[in-house]
């Protein structure tokens, strides 16, 4: 077999295999999207297209706007707290010496060693003591805590990758470290911050077990918990149409954010933060 023909055969094999697999991977999402806007339940008639599923979802329980708002609030708290805390912490750890630095770094990384689910029961008790049970703020803080190890590692690496000279010069010019951070360094570590924010957002938006345990008031439920209740059924039937429209509603922001920022997502893998 000559080389070009060989290559052509290989690439035909690649395209056919990949296309079959791609169809398999996309299929569940496409089918769910399709059945959320098509069929008897969706159209309210015998068949055809319609948005009835979304209308029923809109009015389910405390209403879709409430669930979306709750989920957004939790995700925002998680993202903001994670980014601010790990940027400041990453700067301190990367550029300065201070007592307890190594202990702080190690204990933060130890969060990864402690299986998330096992610590939820004591956290539940403890949040009760400090009055943050059944609170979106408490939930957001807990989710941010679980993002700290990855975030700190990522930000420390981001700061270390910046040339020290830039900063030294500014310091000699009379800038305070805070001024240096604000005017010089933040721009340099911005991609790292986006990566940290992206990971925090995806984790917080999709979190299921923590809100299931920490939130008790139906009006405070996040979208995944509300959808679970929808799945468990009411009044003698499970509304699969509304459930599918709910899955689409929950997935769309994540897929959109990921497609927009996938460059930053991949950075999370290659920065060494994953393999630590």
């Amino acid at each position: 077999m000559s080389r070009p023909r060989h290559r052509a055969a290989r690439s035909a094999g690649f395209y056919s295999t990949s296309t079959v697999l791609a169809v398999l991977f996309l299929f569940p999402m496409v089918w769910t999207l399709f059945s959320s806007v098509h069929g008897r339940q969706a159209s309210g008639r015998g068949n055809g297209w319609g948005i009835d599923d979304y209308k029923r979802l809109f009015h389910y329980g405390s209403g879709l706007p409430a669930y979306l708002l709750n989920t957004t609030v939790v995700a925002l708290i998680t993202v903001c707290v994670t980014v601010v805390v790990t940027t400041l912490g990453g700067y301190a750890v990367a550029r300065f010496d201070f007592p307890g630095k190594n202990v702080l770094f190690l204990v933060t990384l130890a969060i990864l060693m402690v299986p998330y689910a096992t610590i939820l029961v004591p956290l539940y008790v403890f949040l009760g003591w400090i009055g943050l049970q059944n609170s979106l703020i408490g939930l957001g803080l807990v989710l941010a805590m679980f993002q700290l190890p990855f975030g700190l590692f990522m930000m420390r690496n981001s700061f270390e990758a910046l040339p020290v000279e830039l900063e030294e010069a500014a310091l000699i010019d009379g800038c305070t470290p805070t001024g240096v951070l604000r005017r010089v360094l933040l721009r340099g570590v911005a991609p790292g911050m986006v990566t940290v924010a992206l990971f925090a957002f995806l984790a917080a938006w999709n979190e299921f077990v923590a809100p299931l345990i920490f939130l008790t008031d139906g009006a405070k439920f996040t979208l995944p918990v509300a959808l679970f209740n929808l799945e468990a059924g009411n009044f003698g039937s499970v509304d699969f149409g509304a459930l599918q429209s709910g899955v689409v509603t929950a997935a769309v922001p994540c897929v959109a954010v990921f497609l927009l920022l996938q460059r930053y997502y991949v950075r999370g893998f290659t920065s060494g933060a994953l393999k630590g």
Partner: protein, 437 residues
Amino acid sequence: MALSRPRARLRQAPVLTALATATVLLAACQSGGTASSASDTSAKDDGTTITMWTRSPTAIFSQTLIDAYNRGHRNKVKLTVIPADSYQQKVGTAAGARQLPDVLASDVVYAPNYASKGVYLDLTARVNKLPFKASLAPAHMKTATYNNKIYGVPHDIDLSAVFYNKALFTKAGLNPDKPPTTLDELYADAKKINGVGGGAHGYFFGGACPGCMLFTTWPMIWASGGTVLNEKGTASTIANDTAGKVYALYRRMYQEGLVPASAKNENGPTWTQQFANGRIGIQPMGATVLQTLKEGPGLKVGVAPIPGLTGGTSSFVGGDVLGVSSNSKHAAQAWDFISWTLSKDAQVDVVAKNKNITVRTDLADNTYAQQDPRLATFNKLAAQGQTPISVDFGKTYNDPNGPWTSTVTDAVFGSGDPAAILQRHNGAITESLSGNG
């Protein structure tokens, strides 16, 4: 769990233990119980919004009462419906967080647990002031009483009875006024109905719904002279031949296709749907289902007592109780609502009118009950049925992961002698009932 949370490698973490022990002292300051207002008997209608939780099977019943109350009162009750499967966990997490709603409905079988664990406010003084206290459904009152204190009052009576579709009976050549009086007859009838075609099946049950299964099959055991639980509710006695025969019959009906295959996965939310659509000949269900059934040419509903193997009848008298949660800040307003639900107005003009059983025996013989012979059947059953009481009932029997679920699934869908299967699982059930596991 979130696999997407990347984990870094770590060399050592010895500091943790040292820091951890520092928190030990903190643990001592866990909050104690709440102040009980046992002597308070007030009821207020002052425009407060009262929150209430109920489990999904009771939702329509509760909402009907609430709508009537909200129309005539300044207080407004806001109902949250919680899936039956997750009700116990939800109450658990909320109770630990002291975030329970003002009014908490509870399946009667959970009531002993909630009464004993401090979930409910002591209502003894308030209940004692009710002029009709003596006529409140006795089984419900017993489950909501702990150490001579009353923590709840009856909300609804949901007793199990055989529902049958007279339209299918006629189609199959059976006499629609002669429901089965033994389980053998039930089997024979179901088989005949299975033959009429058109997607109709003889029988149905919620095979993956532990609560549905005990609600409908225990009366068959009781009616045949068997038992399932000891007097105190601390040991399982289901390892008996009578029970074995009941589940053997279930297995036979399932294997012979008298029951739709979906029964195996039916975990409760939709277990009445097929009967409501007129596709099932016979199905034991709860009395409150009657309110939701819409009769038509394909569905004519008859009700009858649940029979035993060779005769006899019995019923599981279930339902819910209502209580004020121990963390409620609106106890007087909550009591205004609860005491109203027991009034003659509510019991006759709302409950009975919607084809439900009144929770007051003195109102059982009302105009609506006189008009519908099915209600008369229910009222008769209420007197002869049983309500098992055990503090650990919910986690043992109702929880999909509890020991009862695997027992009944194995007995009905497994292989091997059902009686032997019951024998094998009996120990695990007793273990759970005795407070462990």
